[in-house]
Symmetry: C2
Subunit: 303 residues, 2 copies
């Protein structure tokens, strides 16, 4: 007798005929298997804030000296012609500059070290209540003088539909390597939006990721849904010095405007997924995205 492989239940339908709202089915802060909250650098008040708002800011996650090191490493990566030619580099259509480089924890020893730093991975483990692995890492450069932003989206919507993450047990950290002003296209989040999953209308086109890394398209919420969310939750714009960090839940509705100032906005961005929430087949796409964008098995816990 052969038993058919169990199909993972789809808790968060998306990319169907119509836009559909689903209440979050998962905790925001996960308990350890024994029911206790994991110990870590985040205090109880901060953790409650994260649960409620979906984000947590840390004023100086890394020191100014470390910022210098990582900024130099970023400059090295984006100017290296070998890296530029690599499929993991994303080029800005108008300026032809490198806008992002993916999988920096594999391309760079310095960024690998940052990922496994207790200040970083420790917070991820604490929020997700388990060991974690890197679902995605990248450096982003939003140059000045007109770089475009990213339209509103929930990362989980994409990671569920196109990468096969079953549950909302994933957290991102954006560590600023330049100052985030109110004027240079910083991250905007609708606080509390992570409690509702917005399943988007429309099937996923083949190779959607090639387009969506430059400009959001499939998986885009309707004007009506965004108005409702923004009216209910407001919009928070994040500012902060180089070295500051914003942790945010995988299902936060977020985006960013363009940057016409002369001041580039650079950051390193790491997505930690729980080892208890490993990627399966995509829930709403013909094939998974490449593994440099969304990790595929085998998954290696960060230690």
């Amino acid at each position: 007798m052969t038993t058919a492989p169990e199909r993972t239940a789809d808790l968060y339908p998306t990319r169907g005929a119509t836009e559909v709202s689903t209440p979050r089915q998962d905790p925001v802060v996960w308990a350890m298997p024994d029911g206790e909250r994991a110990k870590g650098p985040i205090d109880d008040a901060e953790l409650s804030g994260f649960e409620r708002n979906g984000f947590l800011t840390v004023d100086q996650l890394i020191t100014p000296d470390e910022v210098d090191v990582y900024r130099a490493e970023l400059d090295r990566l984006i100017t290296d012609p070998v890296i530029r030619a690599d499929e993991r580099s994303i080029i800005e259509p108008t300026s032809q500059d490198v806008r992002s480089v993916f999988e920096v924890h594999k391309l760079s020893e310095a960024f690998a070290k940052l990922v496994s730093d207790p200040r970083v991975v420790g917070r991820a483990q604490q929020i997700l209540g388990s060991e974690v692995y890197v679902h995605q890492s990248r450096i982003n450069v939003k140059p000045g003088f007109g770089a475009s932003g990213f339209y509103w989206h929930s990362d989980f919507e994409t990671w569920h539909a196109e990468d096969g993450l079953p549950n909302m047990r994933t957290v991102s950290v954006s560590i600023a390597l330049t100052e985030n002003y109110a004027t240079n296209g910083g991250l905007m989040i609708m606080p509390g939006s992570h409690h509702t999953f917005l399943g988007c209308a429309g099937a996923t086109p083949k190779d959607n990721y090639k387009k969506s890394l430059q400009m959001q398209d499939a998986g885009t919420p309707s004007d009506e849904a965004l108005t409702k969310l923004a009216d209910a939750h407001g919009i928070r714009l994040f500012t902060g010095r180089a070295g500051s960090a914003t942790w945010f839940d995988c299902n936060c509705m977020h985006g960013s405007g363009d940057n016409i100032t002369p001041y580039p906005r650079s950051n390193v961005f790491i997505v930690f997924n729980s080892m208890e929430n490993q990627a399966v087949e995509p829930f709403a796409a013909p094939v998974p995205r490449p593994d440099f964008i969304g990790a595929r098995p085998p998954f290696v816990p960060v230690r």
Copy 2:
């Protein structure tokens, strides 16, 4: 004997082979002919601030009830098919919505009344030390969900090059008809930048205005010049309730980012020019722009 008509001196060269900086040749706040400062609603401290920074904010220039009236009038204008078909209406390329309507002080009794209101024209007369006329008026709608912004520019650069304003004796007021948040593409000014004129490189193409109303191109400062100005002066982003106003000098370096929020940013924008600074032939363009964009003779003082 025939005397050749006197050619007005060009104090502010621009659109030549290279970008060139010229120190401002004119006062910012103008005295009356008798050397006295004009009396008006602006107090001395505010006037000094305007002289130094190039702008002045008024928290509630018009009341909430008046906001309702002018917003209704704006809605009427942008939805009127006759107005939409008029050359004075500017259409957003992507959405095909009306983005601006020019010469609203001629198209609308309500806006004509606003222009001649002592709270409005009184401040312009006080800053410019003379009677004034309307060089340009318009309503602007920056819709939500992705409307693009305006790149950095000095209005005077265009008004001098393309409309023939000889001196910096011109002031603008932007009156908010919706709330200006930090996130919906508000006005950004480099405070103090009005003390230097940045002559831009490159000749003016024919019919430049048709393109530049949708997207800035000729008359655009270099990256180097913008970096120098922003480093020296910083960047101020204006926020405020509906009914608040920002007055700013004609030579302020200013711009705005895009607006991905659901909240449109609408305002009425009036440019007052001194009756002592009437437009002559353009200083760096083959022909003047149409009179609905830059007024041509005869000039009628606002009273």
